[in-house]
């Protein structure tokens, strides 16, 4: 079955440093989504990428979807303490319907040292 992997599992950075998490799927994805979960909270949608090679930016966050639609990355420039949390990539395989299950990666837990 479809598996989604992420590295690293944990990342500790000094405030102001950059951070990148990488996501890899065992199968081709129709889309990739990124979620953020604060400690004790629930996953919150950040963005969705659909097209091969797509790049999207949200302020200090840059998201990429690989050409083969099997990998993705999230890069945060100049981390802040508000960036603390676990970042999950999630994706759908080649869909039969738009409401097919979304499979989550194991997440990268980001700690920011002030």
């Amino acid at each position: 079955g479809q598996q989604v992997m992420q590295i690293p599992q944990y990342q500790h950075v000094q405030e102001g440093e950059d951070f990148t998490t990488y996501c890899n799927s065992s199968t081709t994805l129709s889309n990739i989504q990124w979620y953020k979960q604060r400690p004790g909270g629930h996953p919150v949608f950040l963005i969705q990428l659909v097209k091969s090679g797509e790049v999207k930016k949200q302020k200090r966050l840059t998201f990429q979807f690989g050409e083969a639609k099997k990998n993705s990355s999230l890069h945060i420039t100049a981390t802040q303490t508000t960036d603390v949390g676990t970042y999950f990539c999630a994706g759908q395989g080649m869909m039969k319907t738009s409401y097919d299950k979304v499979i989550f990666g194991p997440g990268t837990s980001l700690s920011v040292i002030p």
Binding site: Q33, H42, S98, Y99, F104
Partner: protein, 116 residues
Amino acid sequence: EPEVTQTPSHQVTQMGQEVILRCVPISNHLYFYWYRQILGQKVEFLVSFYNNEISEKSEIFDDQFSVERPDGSNFTLKIRSTKLEDSAMYFCAVLLTAGEYTGELFFGEGSRLTVL
């Protein structure tokens, strides 16, 4: 922004007892999901529900689990005979958009289940 309310926020139960977790989406939605997250671990898909029936389920969703939408509003997850390993946070999610592109999942705040 649409809201999804989950109850209870925390339930403690004895092993073997039945548990019902509830999800109430404020806005009209067609697509519902249950996910679970064992403490510190990944968010795992359990089941998707569309048009008042299960559309897909994972291997985790065995005969001990069931879902229904009895009154067109509440979306419930029932665990018939809880096991210790069912202890987890259970998230209800709704699909915000559909069509040409898959929409985002909007998660409720979760129900923490502790099985003793």
